[in-house]
């Protein structure tokens, strides 16, 4: 049997969307406590918007990792090799 006091305590512990979006990185970094993780995942299970939000954060992160830094031009490489030779000589 659940008392009103217990129900209120549980409600207080429930995460709302505005809080959930602030926990996403800690969740992905494995930095939530076991208790926080359970509440975060319980919120996701009930909230399609926050589930979509988490998906978009994952896509953002994954896409960042696939942005190439750009290749070194042969001219820039040759300049550095020339510098290297002068440093070695000096």
């Amino acid at each position: 049997m659940t008392t009103r006091r217990e129900a209120r305590a549980r409600a207080r512990e429930q995460i709302v969307c505005r809080q959930a979006v602030e926990l996403v990185t800690d969740y992905l970094e494995g930095a939530l406590t076991a208790d926080e993780r359970v509440r975060f995942e319980a919120h996701l299970a009930d909230c399609p918007h926050c589930t979509e939000y988490l998906r978009e954060m994952r896509i953002t992160i994954s896409a960042l990792g696939r942005v190439e830094p750009g290749a070194l031009t042969s001219g820039a490489r040759a300049d550095l090799v020339a510098l290297y030779r002068s440093w070695q000589a000096g």
Binding site: C17, D26, A31, H49, Y84
Partner: protein
């Protein structure tokens, strides 16, 4: 797979080809990182060139306690900071109370009033497509400096959190906060382009 110990030994012996290998691997990432500290591409180029000189002069002191990549990144960050003090970038401020999502998108109860616009199934491919990749880089330039530095190291370069903390001299908790704000801002920017609406 690159044998790092072998590469270091060759660098220490003054092997020019080993230097070229290192330059091919890391010049572009170093430039990208240096750019997050200084105001222009030209200054970033100077910082990286100065870094290569430091590497050539200092490789004898490299003991392999960190990865070569972390060692290089630490040198470039130190040089960029010294330069950055003189030539500061103009960037938005990193606010202590910065929310991941603008507060007006939630109702009084803290639930979404304007939920995230769903992204299409091929959203990631669209971001990675060349044009959008350039846009992501531009978005990245709009991040506050410290957020950008952490996002570049973690998400572009794939460095572990602990190494980023060492390089920037920040705590794990602080690193996560900056990462969170940076990633959240980027998602918000991408939502405007990728949301099906």
């Amino acid at each position: 797979m690159l044998d790092e110990a072998d590469l270091v030994a060759r660098l220490q012996a003054g092997d020019e080809q080993a230097f070229v290998t290192l330059v091919d691997l890391y010049h572009a990432p170093l430039l990208r990182l240096a750019s997050t500290f200084v105001p222009s591409r030209a200054v970033a180029e100077e910082v990286v060139q100065d870094t290569w000189l430091g590497v050539v002069r200092g490789i004898h002191r490299f003991e392999g306690r960190s990865s070569l990549k972390t060692w290089l990144f630490r040198i470039v960050v130190n040089r960029a900071r010294t330069t950055g003090v003189r030539e500061r970038r103009e960037t938005p401020t990193d606010r202590a109370d910065e929310p991941a999502v603008p507060p007006e998108r939630f109702n009084a109860g803290g639930g979404w009033s304007s939920p995230p616009t769903p992204w299409s199934d091929d959203a990631e491919d669209r971001i990675v497509a060349r044009q959008t990749a350039a846009k992501v880089s531009r978005h990245l330039n709009l991040l506050p400096e410290r957020q950008r530095q952490v996002v570049v190291m973690r998400d572009f370069e794939g460095l572990p959190a602990a190494e980023v903390c060492t390089i920037l001299g920040i705590t794990e908790a602080n690193q996560r906060v900056l990462l969170h704000r940076g990633r959240s801002r980027l998602r918000n920017m991408l939502e405007r382009e990728l949301g099906k609406a």
